[in-house]
Amino acid sequence: MGSSILSICYLIASVTYIIGLKMLSSPATAKKGNLIAAGGMILAIFGTIFLYKVDGEKLGNYPWIFSAIIIGCVIGVLVAKKVKMTAMPELVSFFNGMGGACAALISIVEFDYLYRDHRAMDATLFSNVVPAGHYLAIIAGTIIGSVSFIGSMIAWGKLSGKINDYSFKGQHLFNIIILILVLATAVFTYFSNTQTVNIPFFITVTLAVLYGVFFVLPIGGADMPVVISLLNSFTGVAAACGGFLYGNKAMLTGGILVGAAGTLLTILMCRAMNRSLLNVLIGSFGGSAHSAVGAKSEHGNIKEISVSDTAMLLAYSKKVMIVPGYGLAVAQAQHTCHELEKALDEKGVDVEYAIHPVAGRMPGHMNVLLAEADVSYDKLREMEYANEEFKSTDVVLILGANDVVNPAAKNDPSSPIYGMPILEVELAKNVIVNKRSMKPGYAGIENELFYQPKTSMLFGDAKKVLQEILAALKDI
């Protein structure tokens, strides 16, 4: 009876994941969808605790289980509630790493059970006593989970500025060799003696961890969203391995659903940057960028513009497009930006936002940020539409965006971002760029847009500058 109720719990849970993801695809239902999926998850968790049976016996160790869940809940809620909107990508990466570690630990413990069971018996090959499918689920869960965990931690460290990009000559070859070694030791483990099988297993784990580190370390700057999305789908697959291990359909559906969806999302992101996934993974974006900087250092002069001139220019425009970037997020200037939009609107200026798909640190990052500041949906324009609009725009105001408006992506085949679709702001009559300094953007590439005659630079922290513009607007 209990186990059939549990099956139904898992069935309901699986359906809620599908409905949840489906509802996340529309702004109107997204919040509800998330709650439905969360409800399904709670059902699956408590169903497992109270109804799951191993060889006809219920699970034990309730005090341990509940104290672990309470600790996880307290930390999880605190971290999730406290974090700033700008740090969201790091946090997703962090939680993803936790899931990966969880999957890896499960597999390691399951391996430990197998090892203990067979160590006591006569020595024989591990492959003689453990079915291949069972071993495959364990080892895949271990490797993918470890890579996902370490990779996410590195990505988290990079996004929060704790870890710098690092790559060395021959890194790709090095990575491929480690990957081959991981697979080789994984196979070797299966054909080892039952008495000593733990040694090659832990070498496999160590190598997988090493691979995770070197897999993410060289991937720099602008490609981080792609990596997080990819690792997200990795963790999904690792969870699905656990599903195979226990014949657990809720784990399987949840894991594979996320694995497939995450992979597609990753590919969509790559497509937005007009690069292949392989190119992103072995491209070492950050590393090659430095040579590009040196290659073309002869520029014209930049032109600065004062706050009052900017306000004047904006106030007498018909149409203004705002291009937000990560700089806006760092300065927490989204609310001030919305105020400026309203102030201009009162003066009869048509204000819209041009959103590049990979502006910020994650796809849709800018949308979330502007949504936080109550900016209306129909003011947000996607790239293709915005590029049409620029022709009839008087002023483009760029707030802390850089790579997504870099014309090198169109004109300079030697540039590492060559081929990425950009917001073609130079089609507008005037371009005002707000930046803190002349430092290159996250991808480390110089931007020739800043030196064009149409462009004026407005240096300073986005929030402070916007407040000053607002004050100046009131006097006009």
Binding site: A37, I45, I49, Y52, L105, G259, A261
Partner: protein, 103 residues
């Protein structure tokens, strides 16, 4: 090789689920507007936290003397809970902002 084919045969139901879920996952994501990509990634992140079920099973069947399983299982449950709870709460927070604007 033969063993793997046998494994697939024995778990043919699971294999069906895997294949169908792959198509379903692709189908669902294909229609999401880029506006919602960040919350979606976060939501998907929370859903793969279902791996916590495995951690609970490991923890629950550990014998009282098996400290490796107890300790690693305990850590796994903590981390899994972090993934699930943190993931859903963060997604909810993000989506809260979208909701506000719907006057």
């Amino acid at each position: 090789m033969k063993e793997i084919i046998e494994f697939l045969q024995q778990n043919i139901q699971m294999v069906y689920i895997v294949v169908l879920m792959i198509f379903l996952g692709i189908e669902i994501i294909g229609r999401v507007p880029s506006v919602l990509h960040t919350p979606l990634m976060s939501g998907a992140n929370a859903i793969h936290g279902v791996v916590i079920i495995g951690a609970i099973i490991v923890m629950g069947k550990a014998e009282s003397g098996n400290y490796v399983a107890l300790v690693l299982g305990f850590v796994a449950v903590v981390l899994g809970t972090l993934n699930v709870v943190g993931g859903f709460v963060v997604t909810d927070r993000m989506l809260e902002m979208f909701k506000k604007k719907k006057r």
